[in-house]
């Protein structure tokens, strides 16, 4: 199997399913509108574009939430998406929300600070969700969900996520197809939580590489040995498997200690679309 080839998707089909899914799943719960946090990166650019196509740009609110040290080009790239999709927009800087916390805990390292920023953005998004009467559309892709490269209750928080089953390399393909500006697709991915941060620098491998490995491990159900036989370095395989396992807690709801005969999460089973 050639995983690079297997990762290539029919973007027309993906676009059709995802836009219809967004429209259906938002409207069946009585909403017409959506809110998207726009970072200037390719993931949120894609989610925003799909939402605009699904609901009409007038029904989508893009929210830019810079911190004082955020890269200015992040803000500008988000502006390109707003321009290209014609969605509504608001900018809510988070500096005044998080700086008092950082002043209280000056020893906080950059991971703590980054997490607090991601969660401050979540607060803004869900507040705008109420104000705009729109559901928060998620922007996490399959690669970061599997690797746990995300802040729990931060950037991973949303009402529904159209791109969570697309690997980063597939996000890029679909982004290209729906007209996300080239400069956004081609730049180095970054959470922009501190200056000079890049995903691939922090993770220590490229999305192209890890997507191929994750495809074999997760989608094609290869054993670790099978991945090594397919040409991946053993330490790389081990490290990725460890990341996936260690971050399972970010992919599930917190467990509830079972006492009664019927417990939410175990034997009280209904879809969210119950009755709709």
């Amino acid at each position: 199997m050639d995983p690079a080839r297997a990762l290539e998707i029919n973007t027309d089909l993906a676009r059709k399913v995802l836009t219809e899914w967004l429209r259906t799943e938002i409207q069946r719960h009585g909403f017409r509108r959506a809110v998207v946090g726009l970072s200037g990166g390719v993931d949120s650019a894609l989610s925003c574009t799909l939402a605009a196509e699904a609901l009409g740009p007038e029904n989508v609110l893009a929210v830019r939430m810079p911190y004082r040290t955020s890269a200015p080009e992040s803000y500008d790239h988000a502006g390109l998406v707003i321009e290209a999709t014609d969605v509504q927009e608001i900018t809510v800087p988070i500096t005044d929300m998080v700086d008092p916390l950082f002043e209280r805990f000056p020893e906080a390292d950059r991971v703590r600070r980054g997490n607090a920023m991601a969660r401050a953005r979540m607060i803004v998004l869900f507040d705008q969700s109420m104000a705009f009467e729109g559901l928060v559309v998620g922007t996490g892709n399959k690669t970061e969900i599997l690797l746990g490269y995300t802040t729990l209750y931060g950037d991973s928080a949303c009402a529904l996520n159209p791109i969570g089953d697309l690997y980063k390399t597939q996000v890029r393909q679909l982004a290209r197809a729906v007209g996300v500006p080239q400069v956004i697709i081609e730049k180095a991915p970054s959470a922009d939580l501190w200056q000079g941060q890049t995903d691939e620098g922090e993770l220590g491998f490229t999305y192209d590489e890890v997507d191929k490995l994750l495809y074999l491990l997760v989608d094609a159900r290869y054993s670790p040995e099978g991945c090594v036989a397919a040409g991946f370095a053993p330490e790389f395989v081990e490290r990725v498997i460890a990341l996936v396992r260690r971050n399972q807690f970010k992919r599930v709801l917190p467990p509830i200690a079972k006492l009664s005969n019927r417990t939410v999460g175990y034997d009280f089973l209904y879809l969210r679309d119950w009755g709709t």
């Binding site: 290539e8 029919n10 027309d12 399913v17 259906t24 089953d165 879809l271 119950w274 009755g275």
Partner: protein, 286 residues
Amino acid sequence: MPTLTLALAQITTRLGDVAANLEKHLNLIAEARAQGADLIMFPELSLTGYVLQDLTPEVALRPTGADPLFKPLLEASKDIDLLVGFVEAERRHRFYIAAAYLSQGEVIHVHRKVYLPTYGLFDEGRFFAWGDRVRAFDTRFGRCGVLICEDFWHASPPYLLWLDGADLMLFTSASPGRGLNQEPRLESARWVEQINQAYASLFTTFVAHANRVGFEDGLNFWGGATVFDPEGRRLAHGPYHEEALTLAELDLDQLHRTRARLPLLRDERTALMQRELQRILSTDQE
């Protein structure tokens, strides 16, 4: 020339809202009738929605005129034959994924799904009882057989229906779409269409498939209704991922023409099959 005008309804449903789904059925039945259809088939669990989980006992019904939600369907079947999907509650409170064939105000046949997928994203065995019959039945268009989704992912139920005399196989699904690659249809769609065409060819019979559309939580259902003739040729194809009523004209004389040329049914060695199957099942398999 005996022809059957078959309507395949690929619909989205409201999860657990039988009354709302019934209304959609009645509207489509009227539309199919207006278009001259003799038989309209609805997808698996068309009256209830698919991922029912703990809703299962609440939406279950008995397919008789005594049920207020089933009665209008029996009424409607006076003008056009119907195949509808529902949860059947039997007398002793076991729940089945079922499909009922209705004609002239009567329930002619009920099929209870015999294969309940309980793997991967599927969890049917947790909520439903397993049907244990595969039977063909007579209709005014000839002998038919009904199977539901996973039933026809296994080769034996279609084979049994073939031997039991079914010349028209009516397959229904609520098939979650999965397997996005470079192709213009999902892997699950390719697979189902491939095996439907294979059954039509292998059994020199008509094979019709109605699948639902829409979404339930993150799942999509892909539609793409098909009818294949006894030559394995596709007579009709519904669109993917959208609601549609697809009509097909089945020239029932094609059975004669195909089987005169290709006597696969005549030559089927059922006694040999039975003998060998008995041997295989009685031998210790390691």
